[in-house]
């Protein structure tokens, strides 16, 4: 095999690279580069036409400079020129330059389309591959628009060379992922599936990736691939280690292709056809059998390749979850790996076993490995392996082993890496709650958590223990006793003080009979911690004290003394000061009866899903809560953000840039929850998390609660002022939209500005603008009366799933609107994905003391995110045909509600957002339009046709889009406009 000499062919380039390498400093390097740039610029500008070789060399130097991290602002034209050279080396440099730089200069793309077109048509496989690789590397929408239609043809053409087919398949995959709407489905799809039978293994390798991607979107259309994949797989796994020659890797036949085929099969349930299924099961058994055979080579490459197939086989077995025999065999195999000397294998075995643990068939088999896993938790050197061990313990936990696992995890916590402490804490908290047989064990466990890793015990965890203790009277006395003991430690964590303070304030009376924990002892124990605590904790303790006054009248004088102290009454912190003042007043003016009512024991909390579980899911993504969800992890799921799309069929592949946003938007690994201010400390105990604050009405029985609510800004002395309405109404407090809401909404489907609502009191005007998937809306609230509106609060609510589809940010508006005045509210809107129902706008205020409330539909409909698309008649019809599946089309025939005026109709269609295409429909009376709905996650191309029939005073409206609900919804929206 001839070696490639250094920079052969381009001596100047090699010299330049050497020069750069010899530069002693950054300055010297920059100097040398600037010199070179000047040289190249003068060559490019010179009168003498450069020959292809020189052009190639200079462009290559520019590329090298760019890769060093310097900006390149010229040379693009020369690179484009290289594309039309008929010499491979020149073309290659041209394409490379473009593929690498295209991010920074997307205008280049338009310039090169022609050259690519020529190369694709050249019938020269080398040039065709260069062009295909360039398209695949750039993968932009523009590229898709220009070439998406050509590539399927190249892929399935009988005379395409194998290497061209390989490149075409993956090129198409890239375009399909970037803009699925641009890749027309057609008769080529059937032929693509048959590439699984291709003689050339490289073609199969490339094609499987394409087919897998297509399957995820259109599982039914590609069902035939199952039997083809099974027979291909079967031929590979049953072949001898040398049969496949070029495709045998360290005695393993076609490992990568096998893995890809196994992954393709994971897009589907087990084959229905008994023969196919039998053959597949045979394959899976063969792979498991081979794992037991002695290795054919000692090289790690051999065992890695073999095990790559084995792990993918196990994934498929877990995915099917229907063959108990195979599941148990898989589990035993993984069990062997748990003690393997290769760290990689131990890691992967722990990971894979985690999913096995959630199958009913293999759960027991997994549990037999508990000791090995506990040992791994203690002894593994790599933290990521220990983390996997902790995950597996969590997944295999059930009632039978919970005590053992929880105690091992607690023990591990004492020495655990800081990076995973919080997660372990969450897991222990969840397991302890889930499998608690007696709640004293649960209380002990949580208090141990706080003792061992107090800093990592988040609010969710200690709120939860309070909720549970409050709800179960059998554990209250034990809890009080235990916290009392825990608080006696000379140094105890502040979270312990919080829990202790709260529990003693509620249930301290249950242990007051014991002279060792008499009321004065309890109080002085708590108060000894007071001065070292943060404001939030001190605020909580003040509430405990006032509760003590009720529980233990004998402590009243002492506590009043504490409250009266200058350090409380004149505390610089407004919350502490307010509490001290109010509690002191309360304790002096209220009668015992009133005190007893106000400071009564907390009512039980409504049962709800543990907020800890929600937090763990947020932290870990899918599968984290699998032991508790009873939902099995879907191994083929694309979802790596812990989002809400569990099944592959609903996963719409967002454009690559959307993926990237997901990557950026991911929360930092161990972001602690935002600590709530002192004011809402206790209120949060009632809620699922810091985000949701229920509004607890200030009824007399719950005065204690309402008092602890965050004080409304306009009335800092909440207790003494009128009971103010709750700050923000939760979604459940919103009334149904007014009856006219739909009609009002319809008025805004084709326009963006106007009066949304009007009655005797209030007028609401709308002005809005939309671009791509973003919008801004101004709402103008006019007070038509001469009296001031008070507590004026307009809020936007997302019913149902809308939260995940549309993001609306609102700014608060002033709480008072003077008579005759107008206030403006700005809404920033982002369309995340397609949606059907509009958000609700709820407006509440007080007019002359009477509460008013009103719920409207916010005029944000999916068509607002339309971007008009101009296209020629022939393109229109081609796309129209591509969207010919019955579910892609929605049609309505309806009577005209308004006079049938062509100009008005045109204006409405334009207002609706689509482009109006002239000279497309053979009948000039008809209207056709096209547009793309832009959402953050995906784009939906839409075509529409409106056929008026003046004689019958009827219309026929047809919508075609790639998404069924969108077609229907648009059709409904638009039909109401005529």
């Amino acid at each position: 095999m001839p070696a490639v000499s250094k920079g052969d062919g381009m001596r100047g380039l090699a010299v330049f690279i050497s020069d750069i390498r010899n530069c002693k400093s950054k300055e010297a390097e920059i100097k040398r580069i600037n010199k070179e740039l000047a040289n190249i610029r003068s060559k490019f500008k010179g009168d003498k036409a450069l020959d292809g070789y020189s052009k190639k060399k200079y462009v290559c130097k520019l590329l090298f400079i760019f890769l060093l991290g310097h900006d390149i602002d010229f040379g693009h034209m020369e690179a484009v020129n290289l594309l039309s050279s008929n010499k491979y080396t020149e073309k290659q440099i041209g394409y490379l330059f473009i593929s690498v730089l295209v991010n920074s200069n997307s205008e280049l793309i338009r310039l090169i389309n022609n050259a690519i077109k020529n190369d694709l048509a050249s019938r020269n496989p080398t040039f065709m591959c260069l062009a295909l690789h360039c398209i695949a590397n750039v993968g932009s929408r523009e590229m898709g628009e220009a070439f998406a239609a050509d590539i399927p043809r190249i892929l399935v053409a009988g005379d395409s060379m194998d290497s061209v087919k390989q490149s075409a398949a993956l090129c198409l995959l890239r375009l399909y992922k970037a803009s699925p709407d641009l890749v027309p489905m057609g008769e080529w799809t059937a032929r693509v599936v048959h590439l699984l039978n291709d003689q050339h293994m490289g073609v199969v390798t490339a094609a499987v990736s394409l087919i897998t991607c297509l399957c995820k979107k259109n599982p039914d259309d590609f069902k035939t691939c199952i039997s083809l994949a099974v027979s291909r797989l079967s031929r590979i796994v049953s072949s001898a280690s040398t049969d496949l020659q070029d495709y045998t890797y360290y005695f393993v036949p076609a490992p990568w292709l096998s893995v890809k085929l196994l992954r393709l099969l994971q897009c589907y349930p087990p084959p229905e056809d008994a023969a196919v299924k039998g053959r597949l099961v045979e394959c899976l058994e063969t792979v498991l059998n081979k794992a037991q055979e002695p290795p054919k080579s000692k090289k790690v490459q051999h065992s890695n390749a073999k095990n790559a197939i084995l792990f993918e086989t196990i994934s498929l077995i877990i995915h099917y979850d229907s063959e108990p025999n195979l599941l148990v065999r898989a589990c035993n195999q993984l069990g062997q790996f748990l003690q393997h000397r290769e760290t990689n294998l131990r890691y992967l075995a722990l990971e894979s076993m985690c999913t096995l643990a959630s199958s009913e068939f293999s759960h027991e088999a997994v549990k037999t490995h508990i000791d090995t896993v506990i040992n791994a938790l203690k002894t593994e050197r790599d933290v990521s392996v220990r983390q996997r061990a902790a995950d597996l313990l969590y997944a295999m936990c059930d009632r039978s082993n919970a005590k053992q696992i929880v105690s091992e995890m607690l023990r591990y916590l004492e020495t655990a890496d800081y990076a995973i402490r919080e997660e372990i804490v969450l897991k222990v908290a969840i397991l302890a709650e889930k499998y608690a047989v007696d709640y004293s064990w649960y209380v002990d466990t949580i208090l141990n958590l706080i003792r061992i890793a107090g800093d990592y015990v988040s609010e969710e965890v200690w709120y939860r223990v309070l909720q549970i203790v409050t709800n179960r009277d059998d554990v209250q006395g034990y809890a009080a006793k235990t916290v009392f003991e825990a608080l006696q430690a000379p140094a105890c964590h502040e979270n312990m003080v919080k829990v202790g303070g709260y529990i003693l304030g509620e249930f301290g009376n249950l242990i007051a009979g014991d002279p060792r924990s008499s009321p004065p002892v309890q109080f002085s124990l708590l108060h000894s911690k007071f001065h070292l605590c943060s404001v939030a904790t001190r605020a909580l303790l003040l509430s405990t004290y006032i509760k003590f006054i009720n529980l233990f009248p004998e402590t009243k004088a002492t506590i009043q003394g504490v409250l009266r102290a200058g350090s409380q009454l004149r505390n610089a912190d407004v919350e502490l000061q307010q509490r001290a003042v109010e509690y002191l007043t309360l304790s002096s003016v209220a009668s015992t009866d009133v005190l007893a009512t106000v400071l009564e024991e907390m009512p039980p909390f409504p049962e709800r899903e543990s907020s800890i579980l929600a937090k763990l899911k947020r932290k870990k993504g899918p599968g984290a809560g699998s032991a508790l969800d009873d939902g099995r992890r879907d191994p083929s799921s694309n979802d790596i953000n812990g989002g809400v799309e569990p099944t592959p069929s609903t996963v719409s592949t967002p454009s690559p840039s959307a993926d990237l946003l997901g990557l950026r938007a991911a929360p930092p690994p161990a972001a602690p929850p935002a600590t709530s201010g002192a004011g809402n400390l206790l209120v949060d105990v009632f809620s699922d998390g810091p985000a949701a604050q229920p509004s607890l009405g200030p009824t007399p029985e719950e005065a204690f609660l309402s008092e602890l609510e965050p004080p409304a800004p306009e009335s800092p002395m909440a207790l003494l002022a009128d009971p103010a309405p709750a700050a923000d109404p939760g979604p459940e407090d919103i009334g149904p939209p007014i009856p006219e809401a739909d009609e009002l909404l319809n008025k805004f489907v084709c326009k963006n500005n106007g009066v949304l609502f009007e009655n005797q009191l209030l007028q609401i005007g709308v002005k809005s603008e939309f671009r791509q998937n973003l919008g801004r809306m101004y709402l103008f609230y006019g007070n038509k009366t001469s009296v001031q509106f008070q507590n004026f609060s307009p809020t936007v609510v997302h019913p149902g799933d809308l939260q995940t589809q549309l993001a609306v940010q609102t700014k608060r508006v002033a709480a008072q609107v003077d008579g005759g005045a107008q206030v403006q509210q700005v809404l920033n809107i982002e369309c995340l994905r397609d949606f059907l129902t509009p958000p609700l706008l709820s407006v509440r205020f007080r007019y002359g003391g009477a509460p008013q409330s009103l719920t409207l539909k916010l005029p944000v409909t999916i068509n607002k995110f339309f971007q008009p698309t101009e296209m020629a008649a022939q393109d229109f019809f081609q796309r129209w045909k591509q969207l010919s599946l019955p579910q892609q089309e929605a049609q309505k025939i309806f009577k005209a509600n308004h006079p049938m005026d062509a100009e008005v109709t045109k204006a409405k269609l334009l207002g609706f957002g689509s482009a109006l295409l002239d000279n497309v429909d053979p009948n000039p009376e008809n209207f056709v339009g096209a547009g793309i709905i832009q959402t953050k996650a995906l784009q939906v191309g839409c075509l529409l046709r409106l056929e008026p029939n003046a004689q019958a005073q009827m219309y026929r409206l047809t919508l075609r889009t790639s998404k069924e609900p969108v077609s229907r919804h648009l059709c409904e929206l638009l039909a109401q406009q005529f």
Binding site: M1, I17, S209, F311, N344, V385
Partner: protein, 142 residues
């Protein structure tokens, strides 16, 4: 799928960067630095896999060079680990005992090797014989 491939030396100098999703230039630089930070702290007793943002890095060290592939979390670790090795074997054959300098001076050829073996974030061709045959054919073209 593969999100990107990076070859870096111990000092963090990038010898190849191949991106299979859109990143802007600043983001690329950040990723390069982050990857370097996470792989260089791994020791030989550790796994060849590192969690990385919402993805994972599969990496292998050859002399002073780290070959890193960033893939989706549910991708097959060992398959990509061996894909790296297969790629390195091809480079070794093509450059006849490849060393870091070969990658520096022939950076534009390395891209060709990558495109032969990986395309659109997927494995395109796995047979070293076929890849080398193709590379030699291209080498012979003007």
């Amino acid at each position: 799928m593969i999100r990107f491939i990076l070859i870096q030396n111990r000092a963090g100098k990038t010898r190849l960067a191949k991106w299979y999703m859109q990143f802007d230039d600043d983001e690329k630089q950040k990723l390069i630095e982050e990857v370097h930070a996470v792989v260089t702290v791994q020791d030989a007793k550790h796994t060849n896999f590192v969690k990385f943002r919402n993805f994972k890095i599969i990496y292998r060290r050859y002399a002073g060079l780290y070959f890193c592939i960033c893939v989706d979390v549910n991708d097959n670790n060992l398959a990509y680990l061996e894909a790296i090795h297969n790629f390195v074997e091809v480079l070794n054959e093509y450059f006849h005992n490849v060393c870091e300098l070969d990658l520096v001076f022939n950076f534009y050829k390395v891209y060709t090797v990558v495109d032969e073996m990986f395309l659109a974030g997927e494995i395109r061709e796995t047979s070293p014989t076929k890849v080398l045959k193709q590379l030699l054919m291209l080498q012979s073209l003007e």
